[in-house]
Subunit: 268 residues, 2 copies
């Protein structure tokens, strides 16, 4: 089972939208995909749960795995063909405080994964906008990181802090962690800001190529996810963009991303 | 000194952009405004600091106030006419962990405020996208809360969780805390999603009016901050929208907001 963590400590850059729609796109291509929602705000879980209109989440969720030693299989829910979700719940926000000082708190999720390792081809982990215990659990559990990036000012400033964290985790806690790709999201084509930041990001990762770092082979995805209101509407119908608006630019872009991921990141 | 906390645990909804530009607008109207940056990502500090291009922050910042008992006056920096900033720094992210279990950790900022109470007319506090210790410090220090809201799905879902937190803080830690206003940001006029969510928010706060809650008198600002790329460009020049693009829709909207705040929220 390949394990991808979708990370960026900056808020509202498209982590959840990417985790959900990329998972859905790969499920449509026949991969068995499990989406783990590590964000206490639970937007990925709400996006894919059929009880969406009343925003109701399952009682048993990742909190029970972290605090009460529950089994991942017990809390996993089906979310569509080839797609499953390991839901979050609001109690998950207590994990940071309840686990302060607990030895091994950064590797709890990783220790739970073997039991589902043969169930799926791919695990996609959606993270909260922070670099706390929950995100660290994603980084120690994952093989690869995807960083969604809104091409606005300070995007690179945040990424260098994130790369520092990836570097520390790969040195101390998870030697197989690498940065697989950076994805420009909410791309406002036609604005010079987007072009400039996209150029800066491309340059940064080209220069990284000869170094011995976890991002030496990182791909700046050619696919850019353009701003498209359909992507913001889809969650209220409990649907991926492919069910909600299959011919929209949002669907085209996440389809193109899935093709790029299949070709360059996932072996067949 | 009036104290306004700008809060929303959802990421990327316009907290920092609002904290910075509303502060700048009120400073232009002759108010002495101090902007306190409680977000370890320090975007408000970077937005207003002249060392912006190299994204350099002062060595002494709010971290020293929380952990080393520094005085707020020692770390405050001028940021323009009638405008000062109490900067953040990356170490601020350690506060959550270093203060776990420390008694009174939710009221540290409040205890430091008396020394600057006569220096300014208004303190505006920018918060991170979470409901942790830093945001709690803002809630116990403030008289009023402004909630920037992106009119997307789940915006109301997040707000009700936030109102719960405001309610708890006002009952247990800060009896004068109220919700002053909700501000629709990144408003994509012309989309039905924005209209629907704006309608839901308006309805929610109308129904709240007769109850005995901290949001009974909350205002849904008539001003909506429209999506405008100039607002995203201004930080890279270290300028408020009024210096960077004074005739842009972003400047018009934050000016209109400032007028609404002066008329309905701040006494002259
Ligand atoms: N390309 C896009 N076009 C239009 N709206 C988008 C796009 N991508 C995401 N959105 C919307 O923008 C908002 C923020 O996106 P999203 O929730 O995916 O970001 P996030 O990084 O997961 O945020 P958080 O940091 O709070 O977890 C959501 O309402 C989402 O529906
Ligand atoms: N009305 C707007 N039009 C266009 N861009 C905007 C607007 N408001 C904010 N932005 C941009 O969107 C991004 C997110 O906004 P901002 O940083 O203010 O949100 P935030 O709520 O403070 O985020 P965080 O949760 O990470 O602290 C920034 O790059 C900002 O410049
Ligand atoms: Mg998210
Ligand atoms: Mg902010």
């Amino acid at each position: 089972m390949r394990k991808i963590a979708v990370l960026n400590q900056k808020g509202g850059v498209g982590k959840t939208t990417t985790a959900v729609n990329l998972s859905a796109a790969l499920a449509r291509r026949g991969r068995k995909v499990c989406l783990a929602d590590l964000d206490p705000q639970a937007h990925a879980s709400l996006h894919l749960s059929s009880g969406l209109r009343d925003a109701r989440l399952p009682d048993r969720n990742l909190y029970d795995v972290f605090i009460h030693e529950a089994n991942l299989r017990d809390i996993t829910q089906p979310a569509g063909e080839n797609l499953w979700v390991i839901p979050s719940g609001i109690d998950l926000s207590a994990v940071e405080l309840e686990m302060a000082g607990v030895a091994g708190r950064e590797v709890i999720l990783r220790q739970k994964l073997p039991v589902i390792d043969d169930d799926y081809d791919l695990l996609v982990i959606d993270c909260p906008p922070s670099l706390g215990i929950l995100t660290l659990n994603a980084l120690t559990a994952a093989d690869e990181v995807f960083i969604p990036l809104q091409p606005h000012f300070l995007a690179l400033h945040g990424v260098s802090k994130l790369l520092e964290t990836i570097s520390l985790v790969s040195q101390r806690l998870n030697a197989q962690l690498t940065l697989a790709g950076v994805l420009l999201c909410m791309f406002e084509s036609g604005t010079k800001l987007a072009k400039e930041v996209a150029g800066d990001v491309a340059e940064f990762f080209e220069q990284a190529h000869d170094q011995n770092t976890p991002w030496a082979n990182a791909r700046l995805f050619e696919t850019k996810i353009r701003r498209n209101i359909k992507l913001a509407e889809a969650p209220s119908y409990g649907q991926s963009i492919f069910d909600y608006a299959p011919t929209s630019p949002g669907a085209q872009d996440y389809d193109a991303l899935a093709d790029e991921v299949v070709e360059h990141i996932l072996p067949t």
